[in-house]
């Protein structure tokens, strides 16, 4: 069984720094006897300029981890940093500003405001902030994502894949420190899904962005540089330069442990 990520000494982090980091991150729902731990003292570091995938079975806490790292959810205990900023303890207003200026988001579905066209959706976070977009960068993003001809279209006039590309462009447009993608291919057919994953890969390789993607699809995770495996609220494994096959194998082991655990009536140490 592989060593939990927390036991990796910090100096293993690549030289170009850490985009986000959590120490003892705990998230509990409910209280007292009935409390359920969604995250159990997780320590994690997201390397800058890399494409990190977070995987795990349903209920493993992968979405909660992303929400806590992105300042969308409060933590029960522990600390979270975005770059050098500790975001645990920030006020609601500061968190909102942080999300707006420093983080890009892609969700599984309903990513776009239906009343705004593609161009307006892409620049929305900057418009909200009252900032002028960097036109050169914006052009590059739009061209990379092949959205040039779709800018005046409303979301309803775009295919699912095109909508996710617009969402991707929005996440990239303000050149955030970190892009969180929550099951970005979950609602797409395999061809459109591959396209979006390709763009996220390009965003990291060509545009130098940092991407964290939550997924349950081994094929999607295979596009990343590093896969973190979550189970029962803990990071239980990590895999550099993953392949779909390797990830799938690793995921199968969760199913086995789970079946065994159920069968033996005792929890297996992971």
């Amino acid at each position: 069984m592989s060593t939990p990520v927390a036991e990796h000494p910090p100096d293993e982090v690549p030289a170009d720094g850490i985009a986000a980091r959590a120490r003892g991150l705990t998230k509990a729902y409910g209280s007292g006897e009935t409390a359920v731990l969604a995250l159990d003292a997780v320590d994690v570091e997201i390397a800058r300029g890399r494409f990190t995938a977070v995987m795990g079975p349903s209920g493993s806490g992968k979405s909660t981890l992303m929400h806590c790292l992105a300042g969308l959810d409060t933590v029960s205990a522990g600390q979270v940093w975005l770059g050098d900023t500790e975001i645990t303890g920030l006020k609601e207003r500061e968190l909102t500003r942080l999300r707006r200026d420093r983080i890009g988001f892609m969700f599984q579905s309903f990513n776009l405001i239906p009343t705004l066209n593609a161009a307006e959706n892409i620049t929305l976070p900057m418009d909200i902030a009252g900032k002028k977009p960097d036109e050169k960068w914006l052009d590059q993003v739009i061209d990379t994502l092949g959205l040039r001809g779709r800018l005046k279209h409303r979301p309803a006039q775009l295919s699912g894949g095109q909508q996710q590309r617009v969402a991707c462009a929005r996440a990239l447009a303000s050149r955030p420190e970190l892009i969180f993608a929550d099951e970005p291919t979950g609602n797409l057919d395999s061809r459109a899904g591959l396209e979006v994953l390709g763009f996220l890969r390009d965003a990291v390789d060509e545009l130098g962005q940092t991407v964290v993607m939550v997924t349950h699809d081994p094929g999607a995770a295979a596009h990343s540089d590093l896969v973190l495996f979550l189970a029962d609220g803990r990071i239980v494994d990590r895999m550099e330069r993953p392949t779909a096959q390797a990830v799938l194998e690793r995921m199968k082991r969760f199913d086995v442990t789970r079946t065994q655990a159920d069968g033996d009536g005792a929890a297996e140490e992971v």
Partner: protein, 855 residues
């Protein structure tokens, strides 16, 4: 199915809350006005029944005038003795009761009611029928003593021992208050002064031998009707009106009824507005609820519910809402009636709230209105619900209603709109007031209906313009709020319609009233030539003493008196018309500019001569030189010669039919003892206007009932009277706005729920709470301003057409109160902000993660 309906009703009770509130308001006004008028009628019926004598003999008076003349019709006091000999009569009394007086205290302040209710001076005569009893002091003895009613004494701080001055027609005299009389029944709001019966007739009527009526008490076993018949046979019915107690009570109630009817109609007007605006709110609520429940309804259909069941389910929900709203509204109506009764007490009418009357028609009306309104309003949405296909349960459908084409609305809206426009054009072109007014009514209704139907079609073009600056001013927040308002034109249209109706009415009324003011101003400029007019602000006539004092004031040159007389004229076309004629002193031309189509002032004011309006004359085939029989009060009549026809641009100036006028000598001859209504005063050479005013004001200091007015003051007086009408309109507007705000709140709240995921996404990508609130506020503002613009545009058209009708009545000037219109638009923006407060707060408090995950 019923269980599903009940569950659904309870599940949506929060969303139905505002609809229930709208029902509540409508029902409360209906129930409140019924309860109030029932209570008042019963109280007064009781009062009048208990105070009416078995039989009352009064002077014959079939020419009751709406314009008071100050003249008192009398019967000989000796009639009482004559009647006393009639078989079956136990007792008679010669009553003296006059209202043509003013009573002032030592500071020359009137002790009379300020509400327009009369001050009544009467003889102190204790019977079972007295509405008052002496509660302190003693009965008045001799000419110098009087009693005052307790309510007036309280309000005006008059105590026993104080001296009051009674300005009566025969002459002013002082009295010492020697006692206080307290109402044992309801005080109708009048001030009462009681004098010693021995002197009352002389002091108030100028002669001890006169009385205003004779009260007759019947012996046991003699019915009122039988006694009336016998008394009639004894005194003759030619010169007298005889009434039994019942008839007298009914007649008294009818006199008061006019005033109470006004209150009742005002209240029903409020109820009407509440119902009208409420319907929009309820239609909109049900439409939105059904749109949100499309999948649920589809599931019901898929599980085998047929269309009728779905429709019935929605209508059952509506009826439940109606029942709940009506019940609460009935309770609120009782509260409202209670408040009104208390308010009337503040005005001096001491009704007892404990004696509130709730007749069976009140709850019936409440439930009919409440349930009827909700049923009617929910009917269309229910039909639409029934058309939901079972497939809707499976499809991840867009919200229903958004995509449906508006073609049908466009067609119906333009047909009705064209019909309405044609009616309004016809109204503007009409030459007869009656036909113009009915065309106006038709046009108003049709254009309103057309605008409501076509409202959703106007949403896009109008809001594009209204919100056009939003993206530039507020960036993407402005852009999103503008587009959110455009998102569902049906919904925006229906929401704005509620505000539109109220504002259209206000727009129309304010144009009409501004035009009236301006027309009156022009009329006053054109016709009034006097330096000063001396007049009562209620146009009540005043005692001769005032005329004498004014004449005697230093610097007064010419005084022209105006005096009114009720008349009935029999015209060449065979019609008998009852109206009021005016009498003037000879030099009328020096104080007024009268335009004649034939004849002149001298001819009109000559002995036996009569002037009238040229259009009236034409309508009734009267020509210069026609001789017309004119009846006056008290059975007097004369043949009068039409010697002048006036052409005052359609208006007769006094609002009295026919514009009849003659020399004041004619009035004095046929209506003796009348009082002047106005004095037109010119200064002498060598006196400045200011000097004259100062002197006149000094002269009139003891007479608080009359004021000195120059042209500007006179205009202001007229404006103030028109303003009363306007205040009523504003009150109606207030109510319409309250309900319209409920509608906007309702729509926004439901929209916020619908857009939960979108709001979650916006918050996730960094929209601050403040910005989210602003977005919702701007959407609300644009909807409200849309309603205001539509309403005002409609109101302006109505107002201009109304003015065309008024022009036929001589009010030829058109005035558009732009400042009011701008204020209304700005006000509607404020309304939008207020309406958005709660929905915006709710949206900004949403949990971001829960919102994103929202289904």
């Amino acid at each position: 199915m019923l269980k599903a309906t009940l569950r659904s009703f309870l599940a949506h009770k929060g969303r139905l809350l505002l609809s229930a509130l709208a029902v509540l308001l409508s029902v409360a006004f209906v129930a409140g006005s019924l309860i109030f008028s029932d209570t008042v009628s019963r109280t007064f019926d009781r009062l009048f029944a208990s105070t009416a004598a078995d039989v009352t003999v009064e002077p014959k008076d079939d020419l009751k005038s709406s314009v008071p003349t100050g003249a008192v019709q009398t019967v000989p006091a000796a009639l009482a003795q004559q009647v006393a000999h009639v078989d079956g009569v136990v007792e008679t009394h010669a009553d003296v009761s006059v209202e043509n007086i003013v009573v002032v205290d030592s500071h020359n302040k009137s002790v009379g009611p300020t509400t327009g209710a009369p001050t009544i001076a009467t003889d102190w005569y204790v019977t079972d029928r007295s509405p008052v009893k002496l509660t302190s002091g003693h009965a008045p003895r001799g000419a110098g003593e009087a009693l005052l009613d307790a309510d007036t004494a309280d309000k005006k701080q008059v105590r026993i021992g104080d001296t009051l001055t009674v300005q009566a027609q025969p002459g002013t005299f002082p009295v010492k208050v020697v006692g206080i009389a307290t109402f044992t029944t309801t005080n109708p709001g009048a001030a009462l002064v009681f004098l010693d019966p021995a002197v009352a007739a002389e002091k108030l009527l100028g002669s001890a031998g006169k009385a205003t009526s004779i009260s007759v008490d019947a012996a046991k076993g003699v019915t009122d009707a039988a006694l009336k018949h016998r008394v009639g046979a004894a005194v003759g019915t030619g010169a007298y009106d005889l009434r039994t107690a019942d008839e007298q009570a009914k007649s008294d109630a009818a006199d008061l009824g006019g005033f109470l009817d006004v209150i009742k109609y005002v209240m029903l007007g409020f109820a009407g507005i509440a119902v009208l605006v409420g319907i929009f709110l309820i239609v909109n609520t049900f439409s939105m609820l059904i749109a949100q429940r499309t999948r649920e309804l589809g599931l019901l259909r898929a599980l085998g519910a047929d269309r009728r069941q779905v429709r019935r389910s929605v209508l059952t929900e509506a009826v439940l809402l109606g029942v709940v709203g009506s019940t609460l509204g009935l309770a609120a109506g009782i509260g409202l009636a209670f408040g009104l009764i208390r308010l009337m007490s503040a005005f001096g009418m001491n009704l007892k709230a404990t004696e509130m009357v709730i007749g069976w028609p009140t709850p019936v009306a409440a439930y009919v209105v409440g349930v009827g309104v909700t049923f009617v309003a929910a009917y269309l949405p229910a039909r639409r619900a029934a058309t939901v296909s079972p497939m809707a349960a499976l499809a991840d459908a867009e919200i229903a209603g958004v995509g449906r084409p508006l073609r049908m609305r466009a067609i119906v809206g333009s047909v009705v709109g064209l019909a309405g426009a044609a009616a309004l054009a016809g109204c503007a072109a009409a030459t007869k007031t009656a036909s113009a007014a009915s065309l106006l009514g038709l046009g108003v209704v049709l254009t309103l209906v057309a605008t409501v139907i076509a409202g959703p079609l106007l949403v896009r073009p109008v809001i594009r313009v209204l919100g056009g600056a939003f993206p530039a001013l507020f960036g993407s927040i402005g852009r999103m709020s503008q587009r959110n308002a455009l998102r569902n034109p049906r919904r925006t249209g229906a929401t704005a319609a509620a505000l539109m109706v109220g504002l259209a009415l206000v727009g129309g009324m304010s144009v009409a009233s501004a035009s009236m003011s301006k027309s009156f101003d022009q009329q006053i400029d054109k016709t009034l030539g006097a330096d000063y007019v001396i007049q009562n602000s209620n146009f009540q006539p005043f005692t001769q003493e005032i005329t004498d004092k004014v004449r005697g004031t230093d610097g007064v040159g010419l005084v022209v008196r105006q005096r009114f007389a009720p008349v009935a004229v029999r015209l060449p076309d065979g019609k008998r018309i009852k109206t009021t004629a005016a009498g003037y002193d000879a030099r009328l031309d020096d104080v007024a500019h009268v335009t004649y189509a034939g004849g002149d002032t001298a001819a009109a004011l000559a002995d036996g001569a009569l002037g009238m309006d040229v259009d009236f004359a034409k309508d009734h085939h009267v020509r210069l030189g026609s001789t017309i029989p004119v009846e006056f009060q008290g059975g007097r009549s004369a043949e009068m010669n039409v010697t002048a026809l006036t052409d005052q641009g359609g208006g007769d100036g006094f609002g009295m039919q026919g514009g009849l006028f003659f020399g004041i000598a004619t009035v004095e001859k046929y209506v003796p003892g009348g009082q002047d209504s106005s004095l037109y005063v010119n200064k002498t050479a060598g006196t400045t206007a200011d000097q004259l005013r100062t002197r006149l004001e000094k002269t009139l200091d003891p007479y608080p009932q009359v004021q000195v007015r120059d042209q500007a003051d006179y205009k202001k007086l007229v404006h103030d009277q028109i303003a009363v009408l306007l205040y009523l309109v504003y009150a109606l507007l207030g109510l319409a706005i309250v309900i319209a705000v409920l509608g906007v709140v309702n729509t926004l709240a439901l929209s916020v729920v619908e857009r939960t995921r979108e709001i979650g996404l916006l918050r996730a990508i960094g929209l601050a709470r403040r910005q989210l609130r602003r977005m919702i506020r701007l959407e609300s503002v644009v909807i409200a301003v849309f309603g205001a613009v539509l309403g005002l545009a409609l109101g302006l058209v109505w107002g201009v057409c109304t003015q065309q009708v008024l022009a036929l009545q001589g009010m030829s000037a058109l005035a558009i109160p732009w400042s009011t219109i701008v204020a209304v638009v700005v006000g509607s923006a404020v309304v939008g902000i207020v309406a958005a407060l709660l929905p915006a707060l709710r949206a900004s408090r949403m949990n971001v993660l829960a919102a994103i995950a929202h289904e």
